[in-house]
């Protein structure tokens, strides 16, 4: 293996620094960096009582301390002190090593050499994986969702007390009997009106945000929207068609037609995008989605103008809402929601791989086209499900994943589940606003999300611009 003109070198790190030309001008910058890193470590150690493993992970990042902390996780205070001392030492080390080629402090190399044998011995240790859903954000999201669900149950014209609602809910648990003190009417208000409505808002919000996160992963664009591929326009055509053609109350005809229309819209966009080009698949697909959306919108407008007397019903569907939710409707959409949720959550890691682009993903053994198609199908199913029962509710699919990304990191293994929970909580809150602001009247849900989402979006854009500038 070894060519005759080259001597094999025993280890990488001992040779590398010697070969690097001295670059003293880099040293001052490094000096400033290091104390900050040390500060980070102090913060990490402050968290110790909650999650000792974290400290192990964090301590690995401070190579000076690598030997102390993992062995001594119980003596947290001592470990923390070690870190603090080392943190103070670091600037000196940095100035001692003027030839440091901008990368790692010299002493890190020594320690890593000593520690090298341990790496495989302790497989659980090592730098923390950001792409993992950690318990804290998950608990926060769950608590947030529970709080908004309860708020959604409490607020309403009938004025049911919180304690009574909790008692009535507990009474529904098998083998538990609690007297809520509610009359039959109160019970009906709670279980036939509020509970289905609250559950539907959560379901629609969760589906839209998770679908949004899925589309964003597929198109590698954080601004991709669940309605991107013609789902909204297709649903509009389906719903309008039923409203126009069927006289009187079409019942579940509207959601079923909207569902079929949404899937048809996505299928048309996908077929057109696949036929159009082999080159940049993602961009072609988006363009096809725009074309299909425009065409279907024109069809929908045409039908609506032909039968102008139904304009109000069409618009009230388009603007969206979950006010008419009942148990039957919930049962209708639950299976689709479940399927798309399972599929999307299972693809988090693959979307992370896809984030390096099709070609590099292929070099890592991943078929980008297959992952893209699967995620698109699941996200479109989730979108169609939501659109079918709630009409068009914008911004949820962009705002929620965006907020999740900023708070909990960009890995899709985190973004997808937290978007599901966060989106449910968000739409729950939006629905609460929709039915209280102009009570006893109701605002369309889509209007509320746009009111909240628009300014939020501008704020996010401004914040991310500032981040780029600094």
């Amino acid at each position: 293996m070894t060519p005759p003109d080259r001597e094999p070198s025993p280890a990488v790190r001992e040779d590398a620094p010697g070969d690097v030309p001295a670059r003293p001008e880099k040293a001052p910058a490094r000096k400033q960096d290091v104390p900050q890193d040390a500060k980070d470590v102090l913060q990490d150690t402050a968290d110790v009582p909650q999650d000792v493993k974290d400290v192990q992970g964090a301590a690995k990042d401070v190579p000076q301390n690598a030997e102390n902390v993992p062995q001594d996780t119980k003596g947290v205070s001592q470990g923390a002190q070690d870190v603090r001392e080392d943190g103070e030492d670091v600037p000196q080390d940095a100035s001692d090593v003027p030839q440091d080629a901008e990368d790692v402090p010299q002493d890190a190399r020594d320690v890593s050499a000593r520690r090298r044998g341990d790496v495989l011995a302790g497989p659980g240790a090592g730098p923390r994986v950001r792409g993992r859903l950690r318990p804290l954000p998950l608990v926060v999201a769950l608590v947030l969702l529970a709080a908004t669900l309860l708020a959604g149950l409490v607020v309403g014209a009938a004025g049911l007390p919180v304690s009574g609602i909790l008692a009535a809910l507990a009474d529904k648990v098998p083998f538990v009997h609690v007297d809520s003190g509610f009359s039959v009417v109160d019970e009906n208000v709670l279980f036939q009106l509020r509970v289905p409505r609250v559950l539907m808002a959560a379901l629609v919000g969760g589906m839209l945000s998770m679908a949004g996160a899925g589309y964003q992963g597929v198109f590698r664009n954080p601004l991709a929207d669940p309605y991107l591929l013609g789902a909204a326009a297709g649903a509009g055509v389906g719903a309008t068609l039923v409203i126009v053609v069927v006289p009187g109350d079409p019942g579940y005809g509207v959601p079923l037609a909207a569902f079929a229309g949404a899937l048809l819209g996505v299928a048309m966009a996908y077929a057109l995008g696949s036929a159009a080009g082999r080159g940049n698949r993602a961009a072609t697909l988006v363009l096809a989605g725009v074309a299909v959306s425009s065409f279907l919108s024109a069809v929908q407008t045409f039908m609506q103008q032909v039968k102008a007397e139904e304009l109000q019903r069409i618009y009230s569907w388009i603007l969206g809402g979950v006010g008419s939710a009942d148990w039957h409707q919930l049962a209708l959409v639950a299976p689709y929601s479940l399927v798309s949720t399972v599929v999307l959550l299972a693809h988090g890691r693959l979307l992370d791989v896809l984030s390096v682009g099709d070609e590099e993903a292929a070099s890592l053994g991943l078929s980008a086209a297959r992952v893209r198609l699967t995620v698109l199908l699941a996200a479109s199913l989730a979108t169609a499900t939501a659109v079918a029962v709630s009409g068009l509710i914008g911004f949820v699919g962009i705002v929620v994943p965006h907020a999740v990304r900023r708070l909990a990191g960009g890995s899709y293994r985190v973004v997808l589940p937290l978007s599901l929970l966060g989106g449910a909580a968000f739409l729950e809150l939006a629905d609460l606003v929709a039915r209280t602001v102009i009570a006893p009247g109701e605002l369309p849900l889509g209007v509320v999300t746009a009111f909240v989402g628009g300014p939020f979006f501008v704020a996010v854009l401004r914040a991310s611009r500032r981040q780029v500038e600094t």
Binding site: A16, D61, E360
Partner: protein, 256 residues
Amino acid sequence: MTVAVRGLDVSLGGRPVLKGVSLEVPAGSWTAVIGPNGAGKSTLLRAVLGLLPCAGEIGVAGADLAAMKPRQRARLVAYAPQSPNLPVGMSVFDYTLLGRSPYIPHLGRESARDRAIAGEVLDRLDLTGLADRPLDHLSGGERQRVVLARALAQQTSVLLLDEPTTALDIGHQQQVMELIDQLRLSDGLTVVTTIHDLTLAGQYADDLVLLSGGRVAAAGAPAKVLTRAAIQEHFDARVHVLPGPDGRPLLSLERP
């Protein structure tokens, strides 16, 4: 493992880019693919990876690469592109872990072993201190090593590197090339790089393959390929070629 390419034809958008390219890279050696812009250097690497439809034979250690499943191939050949997509906000460790993809079940998650291997690779490349840092907070030299770390985490025996020294200053060019050479020697890797800097190519590679107009114009030891006449003919450049102390050629530009 030996990489053997025979009679490779590649067309991109109906335009033939590679015509009957053949080359053989012995196991554990370093071959640098050189050539003027548009000669098809990157295309050659991408074709070997199976990323492009092509005619001809591509074999690694006697096995036909085209007949393999993508995951099998990714356990045999790793690739570092010229301008890699570095997802914003992803940490160095998570990025390195992507290299374990060919070993992780399709819908599964990485094992403790995958994490340990990623950690070990970072350790070897002196990147442990940067493991938690987002990719967008790295310098050019660090970025190049991180991309190398992802390729090494694939634990392949063949490494394809497209312009590994692009946009690096001379110090970091040397650092990266030394690093690749040391990894090659210690792990017995077979390395194929495309590279623009002819002197750098001549200093490190065991063999050079000069591509010009989609064909192999010359191949062999650096001193044989890097001649004044060949550079004049294929690059349209006037250079002075000096034999270096170890017999490897040193090139310098001459003003006409």
